[in-house]
């Protein structure tokens, strides 16, 4: 099967002072549809940089990143926006909810961009809120939410359009253990039910125990690519 994400000799350099800093060195990776995998590594190892390239928010300095058969480096602003809008969901460490919108409206946002009808939107939003267990508080403002609730809204927002790929950059870093487990289990369930491909960046042990595959990154290089054979994670 064609991989849904294919990273080919990707190098990313940032200008730094007079010279440049190499954040990713000649990375080669493939991800199949439906994977539940994570990139782990120490701070500064290039996890976020790699996710941003896959999310077409950033471009590789050299090499190619294919996401759903599209070469990220060759997309126009409009095409990459289209790719993100239709097929990519983002979950951030800080939830990045839009403060003036309610929970419902935050989740609805992506669908507004897709010009979905009001009824379609309402159905999909309520479904997504149900997935994350927030169907009871659609009208709350983000400032009134707990951290766990906030991140669940962010998951609902990423999932509402049923994207092919969800990119989650340290989604549990600001959560306590209970919430971290709850969140990751929610995502795991969605992965199994909808077949969505999840790619995490994390240093959280709690996250790692759920992953099917762990890619160890160090100094911008893949140190180890580890396939985890099915095992029941402890909760």
């Amino acid at each position: 099967m064609e991989p849904i994400i294919k990273i080919e000799n990707v190098t990313k350099k940032f200008p730094e002072g007079e010279g440049e800093f190499v954040a990713l060195k000649n990375i080669n990776l493939e991800f199949q549809e439906g994977e539940f995998s994570g990139i782990v590594g120490p701070s500064g190892s290039g996890k976020t940089t790699l996710l941003n390239i896959i999310g077409s928010l950033d471009q590789p300095s050299s090499g190619n990143a294919w996401v759903m058969d599209k070469n990220v480096a060759e997309l126009s602003h409009k095409e990459s926006a289209q790719l993100r809008n239709l097929h990519l969901g983002f979950i951030f460490q800080v939830y990045n909810l839009l403060p003036v919108y309610t929970v419902f409206e935050n989740v609805e946002f992506a669908l507004l961009l897709q010009n979905k009808s009001k009824e379609e939107r309402r159905k999909a939003v309520m479904q997504a809120l149900e997935w994350v267990g927030l169907e009871n508080i659609p009208n709350k403002k983000p400032s009134k939410l707990s951290g766990g609730e906030g991140q669940r809204v962010a998951i609902a927002r990423a999932m509402v359009k049923e994207p092919k790929i969800v990119l989650a950059d340290e989604p549990t870093a600001n959560l306590d253990a209970t919430n971290a487990h709850a969140i990751i289990q929610t995502m795991k369930k969605l992965n199994e039910e909808l077949g969505t491909t999840f790619l995490f960046s994390t240093h959280d042990e709690k996250v790692m125990q759920y992953l099917n595959r762990i890619i160890h990154l160090k100094g911008g290089e893949v140190e180890k690519d580890e396939i985890i054979t099915a095992q029941n994670p402890k909760s």
Binding site: G55, L57, R84, N85, L88, L98, V100, A110, L113, R157
Partner: protein, 387 residues
């Protein structure tokens, strides 16, 4: 675009006090601009109407030497029309003279006009009813500045066409009220036949006032000012007099726009993560630019709505009851017609035009900083690192 409006509205309302401050300043500016322009239009309309009634008629056929702004040439600027006198023209002859109220000497213009004229509002029919030797009409400014009353008799001194001094008594038979100072201050109106006799200038005129039926064909030694030309001059004077005040409202608009600009710059800086999030959610940079621009122009749309709602009762009140002009403005000869009460003319066109001005300028002002969003790196924006 519709989405941008919905989002912008939510963001604006969500931002609370700061938004309403901007809306408030802009709404105030909006009302001031409309009010000021309506006041000018009202002044202009009233001045035009009054000037037609009291001074211009439907145009003036003037002697080639007559320049209303030059007091030194006025005595010589007269002549006979070498075509048969049309019944559609009313002759006015102007001569300088001195009047002696209470022993003081006042230089004045005496204006002779046909008693039968129907073109101007001047109550010249009173001439016929009076048996005074020289009956005179004066305006209330002339009356108050020289403490004159109906029935007063006073000495008038003038030169005839040969330059010989002559003097006689005139009688004030009526004091008329007009907003048009240029037919009032420093002058008396007397029957033109008397003036012809007094000066020996039989049949001569300084200018003729045209009636509606008059149609002009060029006459040697005379020039014609149509009503439209005369009104245009009047309007120019009014606009010139008000130019300094219009600086005020441009200043106000400037301040309001600056407040929006400032809000935009700050809001783009503070909301980087939000901008990054929009892009991550699949908006193009230009959509985000559009969103922020619409947000800025939304201030002006809200301001127009708020301004109209607050403004309507104010506009209604003043257009009904008018604005009283202080006496020092209306009593003196300001060189321009100004009514005792000015009724501002609030028109749909004026309000729409002001809405357009305010919305357009606010949109431009919010677009300028928003444009930079297009250059933002979404990754930096998400980190909140854009400088």
């Amino acid at each position: 675009m519709k989405l941008a409006f919905q989002l912008a509205y939510k963001n604006l309302v969500g931002a609370g006090l700061r938004s309403w401050l901007n809306v408030g300043i802009l709404a105030f500016t909006f009302i001031v601009i409309i009010f000021f322009n309506a006041y000018l239009d009202g002044w202009n309309l009233q001045a035009q109407r009054e000037s037609i009634k009291w001074e211009y008629g439907h145009g003036q056929l003037r002697h080639q030497d007559y320049d209303p702004l030059d007091p030194f040439s006025i005595n010589e600027a007269h002549g006979k029309l070498n075509t048969p006198l049309s019944e559609n023209l009313t002759a006015v002859l102007i001569q300088q003279a001195s009047l002696y109220p209470e022993g003081r000497m006042v230089s004045i213009l005496m204006k002779g006009i046909d008693s039968d004229q129907k073109i101007l509002e001047l109550p010249t029919e009173a001439f016929a009813k009076s048996d005074a030797n020289i009956p005179a009409l004066i305006g209330k400014r002339m009356a108050s500045s020289n403490k004159l009353e109906v029935g007063d008799q006073l000495l008038l001194r003038w030169r005839d066409k040969n330059g010989t001094f002559d003097a006689t008594e005139i009688t004030i038979i009526e004091i008329f009220e007009t907003d048009v100072t240029s037919v009032d201050a420093g002058q008396i109106w007397i029957p033109i036949e008397r003036l012809w006799n007094m000066t020996g200038l039989k049949g001569e005129a300084t200018y003729f006032i045209a009636s509606e039926k008059y149609s002009h064909s060029p006459v040697d030694k005379w020039y014609y000012k149509s009503q439209a030309e005369l009104l245009k001059q009047l309007q120019e004077i009014i606009e010139m007099k008000s130019a300094s005040s219009s600086i005020l409202y441009f200043l106000l608009l400037g301040i309001a726009l600056l407040a929006i600009f400032d809000t935009q710059v700050l809001s783009i800086f503070r909301r980087q993560k939000e901008i990054g999030t929009y892009i991550a959610l699949g908006m193009t940079r230009w959509q985000v630019v559009q969103l922020f621009t619409v947000e800025g122009s939304m201030y002006s749309i809200l301001a127009s709505i708020v301004g109209t709602i607050i403004g309507i009762p104010i506009f209604w009140y003043f257009s009904t009851y008018g604005i009283g002009m202080p006496d020092y403005v209306t009593q003196q000869d300001m060189g321009v017609t100004i009514a005792q009460r000015i009724y501002p003319a609030f028109t749909i066109g004026l309000i729409m035009g002001t809405i357009a001005l305010v919305v357009l300028s606010a949109t431009i002002v919010s677009f300028i900083p928003s444009r930079n969003i297009a250059k933002m790196d979404p990754v930096d924006a998400l980190k909140g690192k854009v400088q």
